[in-house]
């Protein structure tokens, strides 16, 4: 019936309403960084890397009682359908801001007074849900760097297509659908740390969307945990 979901409830890419796209996570891909990770989430291909905690420079940035976090979300010029100018867009600046806030929720900033933690995200190929994929990669990179965190942060969007709330929109579903809602979540603390949405949602739909997003985030969390454990065991094996 609908243009994005068929009569059997199957989406254009073959998924059901509560399925996420395939995810692979690789830890430690950037040799020079203190921590790094590469994620493929649908067609998203994203690298996150962390430097720090390191001495704040210039020094007047430093806070006496905790670390400050800087975040740069950037898209490679070849990451989009049309070539993207290398200059940061307003969209990239806003996403840098919401990613930073989400990570501040999770990091034990008080453990690193007077220091700075630099988080860099580079989108090599973009697809729907790139900010959610990014935050999962950032979380993996932070874990890789050994920085203390309250909880891992994962991200997964929900959306509304053909009038239905579904998990994890693809690029095309985002463009053609009625609403998109990226959510980042700390699974053990059960807290939402990033939430944005646009589209038209009734109060009921909104609540349903949040619950579905939490479900999706828990799925992403399992995959992230597995990637970190594999990395850990392979390191033990190498010894």
């Amino acid at each position: 019936m609908g243009k994005l979901i068929d009569e059997n409830g199957i989406r254009l890419d073959g998924r059901r309403w509560d399925e996420i796209r395939p995810i692979t996570i690789e830890i430690g891909v950037i040799k020079n960084a203190d921590g790094s990770a590469y994620i493929e989430f649908g067609k998203n291909k994203i690298i996150a890397a962390v430097y720090g905690p390191r001495e704040a420079h210039p020094k007047h940035l430093a806070l006496p009682d905790k670390a400050i976090v800087r975040c740069r979300y950037h898209m490679a010029p070849f990451s989009t359908e049309e070539r993207k100018s290398p200059q940061p867009s307003r969209r990239e600046i806003e996403i840098s801001l919401v990613l930073r806030r989400a990570m501040e929720s999770a990091i034990f900033l008080e453990e690193y007074p007077r220091s700075i933690i630099d988080v860099f995200v580079e989108v090599l190929q973009s697809d729907g849900g790139s900010r959610c994929a990014s935050i999962t990669a950032v979380s993996a990179a932070l874990a890789d760097s050994g920085i203390s965190m309250r909880d891992l942060v994962v991200g997964c969007a929900v959306g509304k297509i053909d009038g239905q709330i579904v998990l994890d929109l693809s690029d095309y579903e985002d463009k053609e659908g009625e609403g998109d809602m990226p959510v980042a979540y700390m699974p053990n603390l059960d807290k939402i740390v990033l939430l944005q949405f646009d589209g038209i949602f009734s109060e009921e739909e909104f609540k349903k969307a949040i619950d579905l997003a939490i479900l999706g985030n828990k799925k992403v969390y399992e995959i992230l945990k597995k990637a970190l454990i594999e990395k850990y065991f392979s390191m033990v094996d190498e010894k």
């Binding site: 969209r91 600046i93 806003e94 700390m186 807290k191 949405f197 038209i200």
Partner: protein, 273 residues
């Protein structure tokens, strides 16, 4: 936020604030879910196509709308353009230095933009002069004059009020080739309202002051259309929020949005444009 306050007094204020919150009270005597006094003046900038000055307590912004002509985007040849831009004027706070718009101004611009766009307030399809070639561009510029918390709602109210009172000269080519110029209103469909709240521990505070924002856990800005549907949202703050708090905020905000919409309607009716 003023740098003139001593940290000791600030800490005293914070302690006092937290104590009051436990009794569901606020420093300025409001209940947790009340707005400060809101003043909306429309038509304040005659050279613009529409304008509004909005005060919420000591927070003050002014928005001006300009309607000009330009080329549509290649992928939306049959739509006019909407451009929203916010600037924190350097005198709006003791802590602002002159410079290009920073991430905070960009966030305000984009949150207001999404709220207006997603509520489909403006009928962009009605702003085409020649499909694919010439359309009307609606520029909404928001100048933040004085900061005392809840910039988002003040900016949103000013943008919406300015748009609702916008008139422009529409040119149409008549059958005989002549061009007819007609002054007309901007084609609008609804009155979206944004409601911002913060959480401090278990408390939810609508319309926070700057002092309150300085101790917030998280912030939430939600935009509602005339039917009470959510059409845009943005979380702020550097701490997480629980599903339960979130749902409670949605309910509270939906009710507040209705109140503010009544206020805006009254202002627009009195304006008689």
């Amino acid at each position: 936020m003023s740098i003139k306050k001593s940290p000791i007094i600030e800490n005293l204020r914070k302690t006092q604030m937290i104590e009051l919150l436990s009794k569901e009270k606020r420093l300025d005597g409001r209940s947790l879910i009340d707005f400060r006094p809101i003043i909306i003046k429309v038509g304040v900038i005659q050279k613009s196509n529409g304008s509004a000055e909005v005060s919420i307590g000591n927070t003050k912004v002014v928005a001006g709308v300009k309607v000009e002509t330009g080329s549509p985007f290649p992928d939306t040849p049959d739509q006019g353009l909407l451009v929203v831009n916010a600037e924190f004027l350097p005198f709006s706070s003791a802590l602002i230095e002159p410079g290009p718009p920073d991430e905070d101004a960009i966030e305000v611009s984009r949150v207001v933009d999404r709220g207006i766009r997603e509520s489909q307030m403006i009928d962009l399809n009605a702003l085409v002069i020649e499909t694919g070639k010439l359309v009307y561009c609606v520029f909404v510029d928001i100048s933040i004059l004085n900061m005392d918390g809840n910039i988002f709602d003040a900016a949103f109210l000013s943008a919406v009020s300015a748009l609702l009172t916008t008139t422009f000269e529409r040119k149409t080519v008549k059958g005989d080739g002549n061009i007819e110029v007609q002054k007309c209103k901007l084609p609008t469909r609804c009155i979206p309202i944004s409601i911002s709240s913060i959480t401090i521990g278990d408390s939810i505070l609508i319309d926070p002051t700057e002092e309150e924002e300085s101790v917030q856990d998280s912030r939430l800005t939600l935009t509602f259309n005339d039917e009470g549907y959510l059409c845009a949202g943005q979380k702020g703050g550097s701490m997480g929020i629980s599903r339960e708090q979130l749902f409670k905020i949605v309910e509270l905000s939906k009710a507040k949005a209705e109140e503010l919409r009544v206020l805006v309607k009254k202002v627009i009716e009195n304006a008689q444009i």
